[in-house]
């Protein structure tokens, strides 16, 4: 479970990038965050892991022992542990191109093993087996020893998800994961994300309202840095227009 509480980010000039954003997401939910460009979607996502400095607000993450930790009030050491349980995938260019598929997946647990061991001794056979299982889950096991730069966009994204799975996360965050993909691959990824949301909450930023309507369990729309809509994935045209304004025609396919 992750809970954003009053997230606010104010620039020195006084401009509000994020305005009192609050929401809570639990296991079983596949949340799609929508909004016009610059509305604050990616900023919101980044603040959920603490990659963004906030003027005000807190982000509570539930840990294994039912304790709730505020990401913005933890020490670096504890934060590293919390982060190792949060998986993050991006739009593209987040895998190490010249490394193999399996290496990229194994990197998911770098946060949990000691620096010394990772640098000098690599991973155990057990960990390699689990990495293979993650690859099988996304149907990429035939590419285990291929270099990532030889893969297509959809395949790369699946490797990224395998890496996320290997992390055994409590939470999966995705920043425009399907924006670079063709419709068929996009649907495959969306379906995969929906399947995974059974095990842990999945929150993604998207530019594709129709796909969100089809696969997400809930949609949060952000407009001018504040939450505009939070509810059912089937949004009517009027609300969509208000969310996107002029961009609407370019967003709808």
């Amino acid at each position: 479970m992750i809970k954003a509480e009053g997230i606010t980010k104010k620039l020195k000039s006084g401009k509000l990038l994020l305005n009192n954003i609050s929401f809570e997401v639990r296991k079983g939910e596949f949340v799609g965050i929508l909004g016009a460009s610059g509305a604050g979607k990616t900023l919101t996502l980044k603040s959920l892991i603490g990659l963004m400095e906030l003027t005000e607000g807190a982000v509570w993450v539930e840990q294994e022992n039912n304790q709730h930790i505020n990401i913005y009030k933890t020490s670096t050491r504890a934060l590293k542990k919390v982060r190792s349980k949060i998986a993050l995938i991006f739009q593209g260019y987040h895998l190490v191109q010249r490394a193999t598929v399996i290496d990229n997946v194994l990197m998911g647990r770098l946060g949990t093993i000691s620096t010394w061991r990772s640098l000098f001794f690599g991973f155990t056979a057990q960990e390699k087996t689990e990495a293979m299982m993650a690859l099988e889950r996304v149907n990429m096991q035939t590419f285990t020893n291929n270099r990532v730069n030889a893969l297509s966009g959809g395949e790369k994204q699946r490797v990224a998800i395998a890496r996320a799975l290997f992390q055994q996360p409590n939470l999966l965050l995705a920043d425009e994961p399907i924006s670079n993909l063709d419709p068929k691959n996009a649907k495959t990824i969306m379906a995969l994300l929906k399947e995974l949301s059974v095990f842990f909450p999945v929150i993604g930023v998207f530019h594709q309202p129709e796909l969100c309507a089809k696969y997400c369990t809930r949609i949060i729309a952000i407009k001018d840095g504040a939450i505009f809509y939070d509810g059912q994935p089937n949004i009517d045209e009027k609300t969509l227009e208000e969310i996107y304004g002029e961009e609407l025609s370019s967003i709808l396919q």
Binding site: L51, K81, I86, L88, F90, H94, M107, L110
Partner: protein
């Protein structure tokens, strides 16, 4: 019209500046004419090279190559460590500025001077030469490496950060694998430069074939000097060809 006047102005300033510069540098064209004949005559005197000497020159040639290899290798590692602090995506603004300035300053120090200082500290010999080459790499390689590190897509770093990796892990797993061919290519380029430097530093006393060259000249053994010269030229040509070949392959094939 104005264009014509500006053009005339520039040309006359250039001619004036050139005239004064030539005066300052002691240009004497008739001395050059006569002198060139002298030096051509001198070079003719140096022929033929002393064929026996070539077998003695093997060892110094290998020394020169060894100095360059060691200097480039250690220099690359040192430059990479420094580059980490000079990359804007890996270190904070102030540290980055400071380190980049230091790198620029090092680039402005002639390698010969570095060697002279090291000789004053550690005496003549291979240690000073290797250290000089190693430190000399920094000006060029640290800058190029830092620029390359900065080209890493932000998403790679952020995704590893989000997974909880610390800085060392991010550098080792996320950055180095992708930029390694480029780093190797830059290092090879610097190696070509270092071979020439190794010869030059040798002439000042660092050893190797540069030292043999200088020694032959000062002992007036001009045939031997020519042999040394030939070895130097062959060395440089071979190394440069090999290096260019490897760098080309690195660029195309991506190893």
């Amino acid at each position: 019209m104005i264009k014509k006047i500006t053009r005339l102005f520039i040309i006359s300033i250039t001619i004036l500046a050139t005239y004064f510069a030539m005066k300052i540098c002691g240009f004497q064209l008739n001395a050059l004419n006569k002198g060139l004949l002298d030096s051509i005559f001198f070079i003719k005197q140096m022929f033929p090279p002393n064929w026996d000497d070539f077998k003695d020159l093997w060892n110094p040639a290998l020394e020169t190559i060894a100095l360059a290899i060691l200097g480039t290798f250690l220099g690359s590692i040192l430059s990479f460590i420094i580059a980490i602090f000079a990359a804007s995506n890996l270190s904070n603004k102030w540290v980055k500025q400071l380190v980049r300035s230091l790198i620029s300053i090092e680039r402005s120090i002639p390698e010969l001077f570095i060697l002279l200082i090291l000789i004053a500290a550690y005496g003549l010999g291979s240690l000073s030469a290797v250290l000089a080459l190693m430190i000399g790499c920094i000006g060029m390689l640290a800058k190029l490496f830092a620029d390359t590190i900065e080209e890493t897509p932000v998403a790679v770093i952020e995704s590893l950060q989000a997974a909880g990796a610390n800085k060392l892990q991010i550098i080792y797993f996320g950055i180095i694998p992708d930029i390694f061919p480029k780093l190797l290519s830059y290092s090879l380029f610097r190696f070509e430069i270092n071979i020439r430097l190794s010869v030059m530093l040798g002439a000042i006393g660092a050893g190797g074939i540069g030292y043999e060259l200088d020694y032959s000249f000062s002992m007036l053994q001009f045939h031997r000097a020519l042999s040394c010269l030939i070895v130097v030229l062959v060395l440089i040509v071979i190394i440069e060809q090999i290096s260019m070949f490897i760098r080309k392959k690195l660029a195309i094939q991506q190893l």
